[in-house]
């Protein structure tokens, strides 16, 4: 009746699993400086190839080269290095605090520090980020208090979020850091909505949405591109491709589109791929996209090509799903070391000064931690106020909550 051969289902597989030899030969790395820098009012149709390349500034010798170089002063670069080192030190201390039971959960940035630290420096006060859980550099580079970050992580009596939110899901309206949602991708479309509202109000502020490679599979991601494309919303749509969504390799979400950036092409949105481990390249691309949005040329989709060196969170073990040595084989290197080498090459930094800075930063983070721990940790010391538990459910407390609070005896 039917002599057709049977169908079969295609299931993508990562190149290597635990026990195998790490292989990134499929990640094509163009030379630093080789990708052109278009004008910000460019016709998106004419730069489709940028969605398949990687914009890089720092070459293997630590020099800044090509049309995307030359935007940052020595002082700005030294500050950027300090932000990334602070974030890394902060992560190390908080990971240890989690192991000590001072908090229940933590998520580190190891390998991805440049993405959020450099992006923040291209924004203006008043701009709004809709971040995920791995962009704490947006806060650190904006000068947010480390003590307050720790107070949130320890959920103590000074927790700015009053014991209500999970560790690392920070919130700071003043610094343009929208409350992080624990549910993936919901905020990508909200960033577009916020940006459209800014345009409707004839404001000058722009928004930045953030999403990981895995969560681009969510419907919200696609809805965000539709609205951003149709209404030319003043928004920068950032995809942090760190290769792994817990145990799921990026090919599961990417499918056959070649790159995540290429998702933007069908929507007519300019799409750029950038070396996410290159502070200078991240800053240059962020500035280009932010300026486009600010001057009303519409949205930009940016894919940061990077690698999650650590575990997804303190609740998983990468050795179960990828080779232990895979991060050593990652071809784009370490963002901190690359910027350090560049600054040494520029003659404004040295190994000795770097060591000294490491010690100073650790000292500062430890001092902050002592102060935060003085206000309590998850299981010891000062706790969030029980009275506050009933606040903030509604703008004004309704009578039944007042009754419940009285019954709780607080």
């Amino acid at each position: 009746m039917n002599d057709q051969p049977p169908l079969s289902l295609h299931v993508p597989e990562p190149a290597v699993r635990p026990g195998g030899k790490p292989d990134f030969s499929s990640v094509k790395i163009p030379n630093a400086g080789s990708v052109p820098r278009p004008e910000i009012d460019v016709d998106p149709e004419s730069i489709r190839d940028l969605a398949f390349s990687i914009i890089r500034v720092l070459n293997r010798d630590g020099e800044a080269v090509g049309p995307w170089a030359g935007l940052l002063s020595d002082e700005a670069l030294l500050e950027g290095l300090r932000h990334m080192m602070t974030l890394r030190t902060f992560d190390a201390r908080m990971l240890m605090a989690q192991r000590q039971g001072k908090t229940s959960f933590y998520m580190q940035h190891m390998g991805e520090e440049a993405v959020s630290c450099a992006f923040r420096k291209a924004l203006e006060p008043g701009d709004m980020n809709f971040p995920t859980y791995r962009q704490a550099g947006l806060l650190i580079a904006a000068g947010y208090s480390l003590v307050d970050m720790m107070n949130e992580i320890f959920s103590n009596e000074r927790d700015p979020l009053k014991g209500r939110q999970m560790p690392v899901l920070y919130s700071s309206k003043a610094l343009g850091f929208f409350t992080i949602s624990g549910n993936l991708a919901t905020q990508f479309i909200q960033a577009v909505g916020w940006a459209m509202a800014s345009a409707i109000k004839r404001d000058t502020r722009i928004a930045a949405g953030w999403i990981g490679d895995g969560a681009t599979a969510e419907s919200d991601f696609h809805a965000a591109l539709v609205f951003a494309s149709t209404y030319k919303a003043p928004v920068v749509l950032n995809i942090v491709n760190n290769q792994w969504a817990i145990s799921t390799f990026q090919g599961i979400a990417r499918g056959g589109s070649g790159t995540f950036a290429a998702r933007g092409l069908g929507f007519g949105i300019p799409a750029l791929r950038v070396d996410g481990n290159d502070y200078l390249a991240v800053y240059a691309v962020a500035r280009w996209a932010i300026e486009r949005a600010r001057r009303n040329f519409g949205p930009t989709l940016v894919e940061y090509v990077t690698y999650r060196v650590g575990a997804h969170s303190t609740s998983d073990d990468p050795a179960a799903y990828r080779p232990k040595t895979e991060s050593d084989a990652w071809p784009l290197g370490d963002p901190v070391i690359r910027l350090k080498n560049h600054l040494i090459r520029r003659g404004v930094w040295s190994e000795a000064r770097h060591k000294q800075a490491e010690a100073e930063i650790l000292d500062g983070v430890v001092t902050a931690q002592k102060e935060a721990e003085g206000h309590g940790t998850l299981h010891a010391g000062g706790k969030p106020s029980v009275r506050d538990m009933f606040e903030g459910v509604y703008a004004e407390m309704p009578p039944h909550l007042r009754r419940q609070r009285q019954q709780a005896g607080v």
Binding site: N183, A320, Q404
Partner: protein, 476 residues
């Protein structure tokens, strides 16, 4: 001061783990951040890092020790200038450090007995179905003399899926992290190895997407088991579950049904705050076309999941993360099925009826123990299935006790307790000697902080007080 190295917790719900290997030996100098040992849990392997500097004076828990409770001292580190020999002599008998006053009950249980012993101790014979006098189970669910094996709810769920997959090639499992990683909570452990990638499918991160895909596969004649990492994330998939899975049989004039199971943890775990702690029982309970199951014990989890997979209708199967690691006796039978829609009397009594399901049963059973000390015999009904609801069993109980208390972690307004109380008012009003009382979560989104979370959830004391209030007895 010598300091103790404590057994670390990998996650808030981890209670114990195996000390796999020491990487340092007694007498070694350790620096802060050095990896000194490896531990294993049912979820993962992790490295234990030294926090303090000094000399590893004494190893208290040796290589390969299983079931080491979180926060048990596993080694002693002597600080600079201290005598390691003296420090090792001062090594404490395993006890808890100063910080965990938040969980005294759990700490007590760990010290006195392994969890499964405790679970057995609190599980009366009636829960196994040996109570022919009860209306809930006229026929015993388990034949007399059946051998029982102790297993966790997690293992029972895995076995149920594996048995049904062996039995029926149309059954497959799909969701985030179910295959390669063996499930975010290890409920699908070993399924990929036994059944292969064709039937154990890792999906992209899109609940709306893979729920819809499952509905499509069910409409095409397969029998999908769709795992949500938590039902909190299934909010995305609501349109597929409600508007398509639940309604298609009806809308198609009976032509095409949707035999699918949506399963995963529901409700609060520990320290996961507002967006990961929501109890959705009442939401699904509202929808005709769905069946809604929420078991407490491992035996019920196994028997009901097997029934759910065979059911021709969409079944929402609500598990609980806290219960995953708890152990219960499960009958050793080739094909153990518990019919959907039948409650059971977990503990018979005559003074007051306590109705609960899923983790609510933990509060109800503990409250019944406390009430018994005051001479109050509570009858505890495990509803097990929320829709269709076995209200007959509750009615028969209320006719005997004349008093009703419902227990749920979800919120009061439009909750399942409201539904039970209303049905009792409809069908057994004349037997009630007091207005029914609901024990529920407080009317706030779940906070993160341990002290606030504890307060936001129901307490055993509240169940005891509610039972006494419907008996018009003063709470001591």
């Amino acid at each position: 001061m010598p300091t103790n190295v404590l057994m670390p917790a990998l996650s808030p719900t981890m209670e114990q783990g195996k000390l796999a290997k020491w990487l340092k030996k007694e007498g070694d100098t350790v620096k802060s951040g050095d990896v000194i040992a490896e531990i294993e849990t049912d979820k993962a392997t992790m490295e234990v890092e030294a926090v303090d500097e000094g000399v590893l004076a004494k190893i208290l828990v040796g290589d390969g020790t299983e079931n080491v409770a979180v926060n048990t001292p596993i080694a002693v580190i002597a600080g600079e200038g201290e005598d390691p020999a003296a420090a090792s002599k001062a090594a404490p008998a395993p006890k808890l450090n100063g910080g965990e006053t938040a969980k005294p009950e759990k700490a007590e249980a760990q010290k006195t007995a392994p969890p499964q012993r405790k679970a057995e101790a609190t599980l009366p014979a009636a829960s196994l179905g040996h109570a022919p006098s009860t209306p809930a189970s006229a026929e015993p669910e388990v034949p007399e003399g059946t051998q029982m094996v102790t297993m966790t709810v997690r293992e029972a769920l895995r076995d149920a899926m594996a048995e049904e997959m062996r039995r029926d090639d149309l059954v497959f499992v799909m969701g985030e992290e179910v295959a390669e990683y063996q499930g975010a909570y290890k409920v699908t452990q070993g399924l990929l190895q036994e059944f292969g990638a064709r039937r154990v499918v890792d999906t992209p991160i899109t609940e709306h997407g893979f729920a819809g895909l499952g509905v499509g596969a069910a409409l095409a004649g397969l029998k999908p088991v769709v795992e949500f990492m938590t039902f909190n994330f299934a909010m995305q998939a609501m349109d597929q579950i409600i508007n398509s899975a639940a309604k298609t049989l009806y809308m198609s004039g009976g032509q095409m049904g949707c035999p699918i199971v949506f399963r995963g943890p529901n409700g609060a775990a520990a320290r996961v705050a507002a967006q990961h702690s929501h109890d959705y029982t009442a939401w699904y309970s509202n929808v005709p076309g769905l069946k809604v199951v929420a078991p407490h014990t491992a035996a019920d989890a196994k028997g009901l999941l097997k029934a759910a997979i065979r059911d021709l209708n969409p079944v929402v199967f609500l598990e609980n993360e806290i219960l995953y690691g708890q152990s219960f006796p499960v009958p050793k039978l080739d094909d153990f099925i518990i019919p959907i829609g039948k409650a059971k009397i977990a503990k018979p009594g005559s003074h007051v009826t306590l109705v609960a399901w899923s983790i609510g049963m933990s509060y109800a059973l503990k409250a019944a123990e406390q009430l018994a000390k005051d001479g109050i015999e509570a009858e505890v009904i495990d509803l097990r299935t929320i829709r269709p609801m076995d209200i007959e069993t509750v009615i028969e109980s209320v006719k005997k006790t004349n008093r009703l208390v419902t227990v749920e972690e979800g919120w009061a307004q439009s909750g399942v307790g409201a539904e039970i109380a209303m049905r009792i008012c409809e069908h057994a009003f004349d037997w009630l000697d007091a207005p029914p009382v609901r024990v529920t979560g407080k009317d706030v989104p779940m906070p993160y902080a341990a002290n606030l979370e504890k307060l936001a959830l129901p307490h055993v004391d509240e169940v005891v007080a509610a039972a006494k209030s419907v008996l018009y007895k003063a709470t001591s």
